[in-house]
Symmetry: C2
Subunit: 120 residues, 2 copies
DNA sequence: CGAGGTGCTCACCTCCGGGTGAGTACCGCA
DNA sequence: TGCGGTACTCACCCGGAGGTGAGCACCTCG
């Protein structure tokens, strides 16, 4: 899935969007990038407690293929790669905002625990 | 997962919402119910080509637990069960609308096939 | 001189979401 | 009489998403 375009036939717009967001960390990556603008690999890893490096790379690669994130590699001696949102990534985030609002209301309703991420 | 409240700790509102929509057919069920109002089990099954009965039941039960759908059983001789959206289901659908718009734009961009469901 | 950080890749394994197919209790229709 | 429809449940299996841990090439800091 990571190396091939997904583009499966869709029933409606929803699953076309879901396809792009499906993946345990996709939406969180989107959110991180939205909050902080440009981030390096290790910064993202630290910002998403619990993510494995493999999954981070994999999801970032998929999101790059989907045209959601930009990946800029600096050929310096200690490797440096910067990730940022493309315009499509930004607009997807905007579309997710109303979902986020609904989710927050749901959290209130059911009284679930919420992890508050410490922003270093 | 079907029989226990999911309520896991969430990073943010998005995954609280995603939790509720995660499942291959959840968003489509939501859409069906939104389009047609009240639907019977077999009507939903026919409206979602490719869904297995087990998955339909399972998803409907989860969505009932999550307070998204109402399930009304008529104790008549040929079994009759009607499903409809609760207010939370309706509001979730509204929140998904902007996602759907984004998804439709993405379909345009990548030129993916789209399954057009014939509404009988 | 070694530990640790940077951005990965690779191999392996586990778990569970989802599919398949059968069974059920009752009815109407041909 | 038996087939098909209604609304399920149950048992089983498979594939893939996701986790674990190692390795790598190079550098800097203690």
């Amino acid at each position: 899935m990571a190396t091939s375009a997904r583009q499966g036939p869709y029933f409606c717009g929803i699953d076309a969007a879901m396809d792009v967001v499906s993946g345990k960390w996709k939406s969180l990556i989107l959110w991180e990038l939205h909050e902080h603008g440009t981030r390096r690999f290790a910064e993202l890893r630290r910002g998403l407690p619990g993510v494995s490096e493999k999954m981070l790379v994999q999801h970032l690669r998929e999101m790059e293929e989907d045209g959601l994130v930009d990946r800029e590699v600096y050929p310096v001696v200690p490797p440096k790669v910067e990730y940022s949102l493309t315009e499509h990534g930004v607009s997807l985030n905007a579309a997710l905002e109303s979902l986020a609002v609904w989710g927050r209301e749901r959290i209130e309703r059911i009284g679930a625990d919420k992890i508050t991420v410490e922003v270093a």
